[in-house]
Amino acid sequence: MAKVLVKGNEAIAQAAINAGCQCYFGYPITPQSEIGEYMGKHLPKLGRTFITAESELASINMVIGAGTTGTKAMTSSSSCGIALMQEAFSAMCCAEVPGVIVSVMRGGPGLGNIAPAQADYFQALKGGGNGDYKLIVLSPSTVQEAIDLTYKAFHLALTYRNPVMLLADGILGQMMEPAEFGEYPYKDPDVSEWALSGANNRPARNIVSLHMPEGAMEELTNRIFEKYALVAKNETMYEDYMLKDAKLVLTAFGSVGRVAKAAVNRARKMGMKVGLFRPITLFPFPDKALHQVAQNADMILDLELNKGQMLLDVRSAVFGACPVEFYGRTAGGLLTPDMIMAKIEELYKKLDNTEESKAGVR
């Protein structure tokens, strides 16, 4: 299949269709409304379901309904809309209901603005919903990766019976670039063992999130966390770029990852040993790999379009192996390669640039 010029939001929508998404339930919000519009145009023609729900709360609960039948379903929203869905994410994780959520982040907090941002990392990764639960969170940095990770999102949701979030931002949602769709590459698991279909020639079954008997909820949560450990073992993804001899390692996710890569290329041309570590799965976070990288680096510079959110996971993974600096902008402020270069030059001067430095003795 040839490459096509496609907008991020529409690429995600088409990838979902290719992945076999049977239902889209959504509520419009900038900067991701094109996803709903694309679905509204194409799903009915395919005999599939499209509903503009009364709210984001309704949308995600419709996804739950579809998910309990083992059907591939999706919703999409942005920041303040995703905030309304948090109750349902928690319920889905508890009841083990699959579903795909696309979050195209805008500026916040509050209604914020409609400019790109990455300030919903905590929202995606650190809850908002109640209780111990985790979304699987995938973070694309290009339109091509948005397509590939949309495919993966549907597969992981069914494989692990857990909601999966594609965490994009307004830059990726609104930009156009060439990308190739290809075929949906996964073979999905059989859902007939657990999905609701009516108690026909089998005992009645239920998918619920209330477990009152003493100990039942803890036992269930422990089992679900064993599942999360399996997800971490099997599904962790990251990109490493020019890390082999890097003294200064940039960490960035999503759109910022590609800006950081441009900065790495420039720094290398100037003779500075700079590399990039870009988590692709934010949960599971590639903490072991990042710790290894930190052990061989002199410093990490975390770059985000927020006030320092992934920073907490970076520090936790680095665990003191090297200093961690942060540089970011928020609520629509963007990082350019020039800005990142200025920061790199400032920090690089402070490093031990003798042959005895960690990178030097390697």
Partner: protein
């Protein structure tokens, strides 16, 4: 010659026991639903959606597939299920706190979309499970734990009449309010729920039956007093009737 006068519906679990307070209306309504699902031979094709409140433990009573929903969201869960499995029989079982208070927006929009699902809403005019707080359907003057001096309209407004409002939605095929205060009313309630189920089976639209039910524990009344309270007081505010039946002309 032996005549079978009582049979436990197949749609109720053999070892399931209702866990409701003495005099509570839920058991009667669940029994009616189970009987009707048997009569329509839908047991193998039904997905029930439980809600939050005393209506939550459906999987402990019904021998049916059950999906649980968060507070007020069961019409959305039902919508998702029905759109994926249009050949299945899908109903929500909700209280007034769920369907008429926190989830009334969802109720109304599900009705307006004309989803081919059925909602049975148990109205006991309070939040039963949490201990009897005022809900949207609480009567003016009614004493609850959050209206200890009685519901005052100047402070908390007036009771919401769910079945009447739902009946005004174009996607609604059937909307009624029934009671289960005596054998006659139980039979009428069963007829109404049967009609509601038929609407879904025939694919005619959304169907909604509100059932006035006693909550003796939170009303601080005996079961008998509670039933009399429904007949003498609640029915004067939440009046019984069929507010919409799009098949009514056919039946004449």
């Amino acid at each position: 010659m032996e005549t079978l006068v009582y049979k436990r519906p197949e749609s109720l679990l053999k070892d399931g026991h209702f866990t409701f307070c003495p005099g509570c209306g839920h058991g009667v309504i669940l029994r009616i639903i189970a009987e009707l699902i048997d009569e329509f031979n839908l047991q193998k094709d039904t997905i029930a959606i439980s809600s939050v409140g005393c209506s939550i433990f459906l999987e402990k009573f019904f021998n049916l597939d059950v999906a649980g929903a968060s507070h007020g969201r069961s019409p959305c869960v039902a919508t998702g299920i029905k759109r994926c499995k249009p050949d299945k029989f899908v109903f929500t079982y909700q209280g007034d706190g769920d369907a008429a208070t926190i989830g009334f927006n969802e109720t109304i929009h599900t009705a307006c979309r004309g989803e081919h699902i059925t909602t049975i809403m148990i109205n006991n005019t309070n939040f039963g499970m949490t201990g009897g707080q005022a809900s949207a359907t609480t009567l003016v003057g009614q004493v609850t734990t959050t209206t200890p001096m009685g519901r005052k309209p100047e402070l908390t407004g007036y009771p919401l009449h769910a079945a009447e409002i739902v009946s005004k939605c174009d996607g609604t095929a059937f909307a009624a309010r029934v009671a289960i205060t005596d054998t006659k009313h139980i039979r009428q309630a069963k007829e109404a729920i049967k009609k509601a189920f038929e609407m879904q089976i025939k694919g005619l639209g959304y169907s909604f039956v509100e059932v006035l039910a006693a909550c003796p524990t939170n009303w601080h009344m005996t079961p008998v007093e509670s039933v009399e309270h429904i007949s003498n007081v609640i029915e004067t505010v939440h009046t019984l009737g069929v507010f919409k039946d799009i098949t009514a002309k056919e039946n004449l």
